[in-house]
């Protein structure tokens, strides 16, 4: 067949060409050049993107280990000196009550129903602890400082971490046994200096950390006079709590029992209103 003859001829020609090539094989410069181009391109893309990303991340690297995430839910565990306590949330006392706190400053336990405003509030005077503790339950960090030990530049350095920020507040605490004490719900860190690098680590790890504060997305706003007034907050009370103070295991009284199902509620008597 003609086609079979042609293909046999073609194979013979190809075979001859290969034999010639084997004798003097040309270097595959085209292939080498193409591959080098790919390496340069891929290497360039990789290098550019990698170093650009690395550069952007570099600034945050110092705080990176203290960023809360699914795999690092409580980064404050890596901060030396943090004290942990388990507190039951949602136990509210009235504005006239005191709580016999087990820590000073307290960082959990029963608290006033009105939380202290924690939208970057800098309180110039010591504030009632029962209100401050409620803010911790809402995800705020409370910076307490000793008014005699932290002044001038040190005080400004602390304020800078609060002003224009949210879920953070600071107040003097006259009976503090260190220069600065940081509180988050169930966590506390006391440091001797306002320069301590652990201050930023603590704030970064715990401020509004969804894994560590009890009442997710709760507010730091205040209702004002008659509730919690940030311009005239209830003052800190340095005296011992006394026998009437609510204990740490205080449970608010249950609401008065409503009528049994099926029983009619008492109806107001006609004409008795007034």
């Amino acid at each position: 067949m003609a086609s079979g003859k042609n293909s046999k001829q073609a194979r013979r020609n190809a075979s001859a060409a290969r034999a010639a090539a084997a004798i003097k094989k040309p270097k595959p410069w085209g292939l080498v050049a193409a591959l080098v181009a790919i390496v340069v391109f891929a290497g360039g893309v990789f290098g550019f993107v990698y170093f650009q990303q690395a550069d952007k991340q570099a600034k945050l690297d110092a705080l990176a280990p203290f960023t809360p995430s699914q795999s690092n839910q409580d980064p404050s565990k890596q901060i030396k000196g943090v004290v942990f306590k388990d507190y039951k949330p949602q136990s509210h006392v009235s504005p006239a009550d005191r709580v016999a706190y087990d820590q000073s400053p307290a960082f959990g336990g029963p608290h006033d129903g009105y939380w202290a405003a924690c939208m970057g509030n800098v309180y110039e005077r010591p504030v009632r602890t029962e209100n401050m503790v409620h803010s911790l339950e809402h995800g705020a960090v409370w910076i307490a400082y000793h008014p005699d030990k932290v002044k001038d530049d040190d005080l400004d350095a602390l304020k800078k971490r609060v002003v224009n920020q949210q879920f953070i507040m600071m107040s003097p605490y006259p009976t503090l046994d260190s220069a600065v004490s940081l509180q988050s719900w169930g966590r506390q860190l006391k440091v001797d200096s306002a320069d301590d690098e652990r201050i930023d680590q603590f704030i970064h790890a715990l401020r509004r950390n969804q894994y560590t504060y009890p009442e997710l997305n709760a507010s730091c706003d205040a209702l004002g006079p008659g509730a919690f007034d940030p311009d005239n907050p209830p003052p800190f009370d340095a005296t011992p709590p006394g026998p009437d103070a609510k204990p740490m295991n205080y449970e608010p009284p249950a609401p008065p029992p409503s009528g049994q199902p099926g029983q009619p509620q008492p109806q107001p008597q006609p004409g008795s209103g007034g």
Partner: protein, 239 residues
């Protein structure tokens, strides 16, 4: 068979010389390197904003969700105050609208941040670090200074002093101060919304930013009308 013939003919070729072996090793090595690098570059690109999965920490999507939550939350604080303390029904109504819608949007954005495994608040206390484009630079905001990107205060935010003053007022004075500060607050948020509407890669983020622009644009007009009707003048707009 013809194929076997061909194979036999190829097999009869002479073995390659030593220089050819070196060349083959070189070509194979470069090829392997090329494949590895292509894979690495591809993997890196997938991990960038625009790739699938959670956006990066420094992406527009994450930055917008974090910073706009802070911006919104301040509006919510002031709107709640006006709703509680104004006696003007029209002011209370727009305050209630702003309070509830912006609080809902904060919840939406914080929900995303949770799903993306990102913190709710921007790191190191600086805002607008994610705005690196020419628009942000022209405004003097965003990552203008590469050594220390971001700003301490976002445009339109009221100061503690302004907030304190507002809380000391009542009646017509309170209404005017609220409308002034809220108008400026709305104006100040526009830049971030426009930037996110343009550069966010997640369609949900883009959509929310666009929706904010639309509703706040209309609300800004209403605030201005209410302010003028109460004898107030708008504050200088934020830069």
């Amino acid at each position: 068979m013809a194929d076997q013939d061909a194979a036999a003919e190829i097999g009869s070729d002479q073995p390659p010389a030593e220089t050819s072996t070196a060349m083959r090793v070189l070509v194979i090595s470069v090829a392997v390197l090329a494949v590895l690098l292509l894979g690495a570059a591809g993997g890196l690109l997938l991990g960038l904003p625009g790739g699938r999965g959670a956006p990066a920490s420094n992406s527009v999507d994450v930055g917008f969700a974090q910073d706009m939550s802070v911006h919104h939350r301040q509006a919510v604080q002031m709107a709640g105050w006006a709703r509680d303390h104004s006696t003007d029904q029209a002011v209370r109504q727009i305050a209630f609208d702003i309070e509830t819608s912006q609080l809902g949007q904060v919840g939406r954005m914080e929900g995303w941040l949770g799903l993306w495994d990102k913190p709710e608040l921007p790191a190191s206390g600086k805002y607008m670090k994610w705005m690196t484009g020419p628009e942000a630079v022209a405004h003097g905001h965003g990552a203008t200074n590469p050594a220390d990107p971001g700003v301490d205060v976002m445009p339109g935010m009221y100061t503690q002093q302004e907030w304190q003053r507002l809380r000391s007022l009542s009646g017509r004075e309170l209404d005017v101060a609220f409308l002034q500060l809220m108008l400026r607050h709305h104006q100040g948020g526009t830049q971030m919304m426009e930037y996110a509407a343009k550069y966010a890669t997640n369609p949900q983020v883009k959509n929310l930013a666009q929706s904010m622009l639309l509703s706040q644009g209309k609300e800004t007009q209403t605030l201005r009308t209410l302010l003028t009707a109460r004898g107030g003048q708008p504050l200088p707009p934020p830069s």
